[in-house]
Symmetry: C2
Subunit: 333 residues, 2 copies
Amino acid sequence: MLKGHQSWIFKSKPTILGSAAVGGPFEANGALADDFDILHEDLWLGQDSYEKAEKVLLEHACERAIQKSKVKKEDINFFLSGDLMNQIISSNFAARTLGIPFLGVFGACSSSMEGLALAAQLIESNSAKYTLSAASSHNAAAERQFRYPTDYGVQRPPTAQWTVTGAGAVVLGAHGNGPKVTSATIGKVVDMGISDPSNFGAAMAPAAVDTIEAHFRDFNINASHYDLIATGDLGKLGHELANTLLKKHGIKMPHRIFTDCGLLIYKDEQHTFCGGSGCGCSATVTYGHLLNRMRKGELSRILVVATGALMSPISYQQKESIPCIAHAVSIEM
Amino acid sequence: MLKGHQSWIFKSKPTILGSAAVGGPFEANGALADDFDILHEDLWLGQDSYEKAEKVLLEHACERAIQKSKVKKEDINFFLSGDLMNQIISSNFAARTLGIPFLGVFGACSSSMEGLALAAQLIESNSAKYTLSAASSHNAAAERQFRYPTDYGVQRPPTAQWTVTGAGAVVLGAHGNGPKVTSATIGKVVDMGISDPSNFGAAMAPAAVDTIEAHFRDFNINASHYDLIATGDLGKLGHELANTLLKKHGIKMPHRIFTDCGLLIYKDEQHTFCGGSGCGCSATVTYGHLLNRMRKGELSRILVVATGALMSPISYQQKESIPCIAHAVSIEM
């Protein structure tokens, strides 16, 4: 049901019946390794291209989430998925494997929460009995599409983030035990004129703040409503900028509750510069680490604000700045 | 509300309050020129790239649809849009211009009906007061991304279709006068092993038939329920193949009601070989021509089955076949 101008309240509280996070070798050495269901030692996952490897990551996440949910695959009405690849091929090919009616979404790295918001909305409105929502990214596939093939060994600037090789998936249903999806806020496109594809964090921070502000306004709440508010992949610079902008807008955000999935996923000694990024960043951290913390009773109410940089290499070459967006979803235990 | 396994019935009948179709010079010489709201003589629309021209087409369609709907832009809760460009940049940049909370969708040329189905579902479930749904494509932008730049003058094979330069948009609301969106069926990915990107029609025909079959099954109806059933962009070959497959599956489909947007949009003397294609094909033909025929009383119940080829140039180069999908939406006067 619509709440305010751009939010949905899910009174029936759609339940996350199963969730899964799958990662690659770099994530296996990361700070949240214990929260992954499957960690692959091989960046290629036995495939002959990085793009096919990403598809397999996504399929593994979906299959594991379905298995854990104990819902039969044939009973899932809709599969919502998005990724960073041109024409979201990882999602399309995973949808072919799964055989579930498919709604492709695209919001760059915000696709994870765009999919979850819609998947919950479909359950809430009795438009589905069960939905599957997922998102993925692969470091080497994303780097060669958006910047340079990793084989070139191009030196990364200090503002750069590390695209997560990973996929996360959840199965939602109307009843059952598990974390509940309680609301969502759909973001507007915000573009402050930044055009550097190696500084997505700074570009996306204003969009994250805009959506957080809209969420608080639509529900008439403030940050204290949540135990934790995590943006998707602002990274170090973007997180600092978001803090500055929140202060400027008069929004109180205690440091202990405000974090970013890109800041959580890797260890300092992994030298990622500004942290993790990619659809797989918010998807694996949320569907692995954060949901695990909720199930352990460490968190009872969280807001995940997945951020996306809606550019393409062509728009960058044509000297366009980077339009950004953020979608927020609240989850309660 | 869910109907059967993969369909939604919209009992509240969300209303199309305004619709618009915008085209380019080739469409201005086409069979449906009179049904376009705006026809541009300049393929570049005054921009310095074809990609930027596509964005302008989409913006024009959205602005005209909003204007005709008499709904204030600020009152529209969500904008749902998709296109063929990598990372759907046409939609992203149009969303930046419009400033409406944005849900990006991707289903290749089926994006038009994926967006309309979701836009109607949001109205039906009181998750939005007003929604805007749109889709676009640009011949020269699509050709250079998926095949060859048109400047090369590469000879097209006889199975080829002509990507429509055009955009279509609709504004939906819960009340008011106008055609009503009454149901939708979300398709599964179907892949019969075809890998030729110059023969999308044949690749997509099985997906169209699968969705039509699912629609009839979920609603327990047959083709006679409709005055017209139009696929999105199967073109000449795909349409013939769909007829053959329907017969094989025992589905009666009278010739006088079964057509394809790609067969309607151009004149024979335009030598497009197999007809029109692209997100802009089903979007302009449906939101221009077909809705006009409904408003004139010539049609009272139609089903639009937009088809999409979910490949990318990379998946083609990596020797993958083409996964296809089709989403169906019924509109009644």
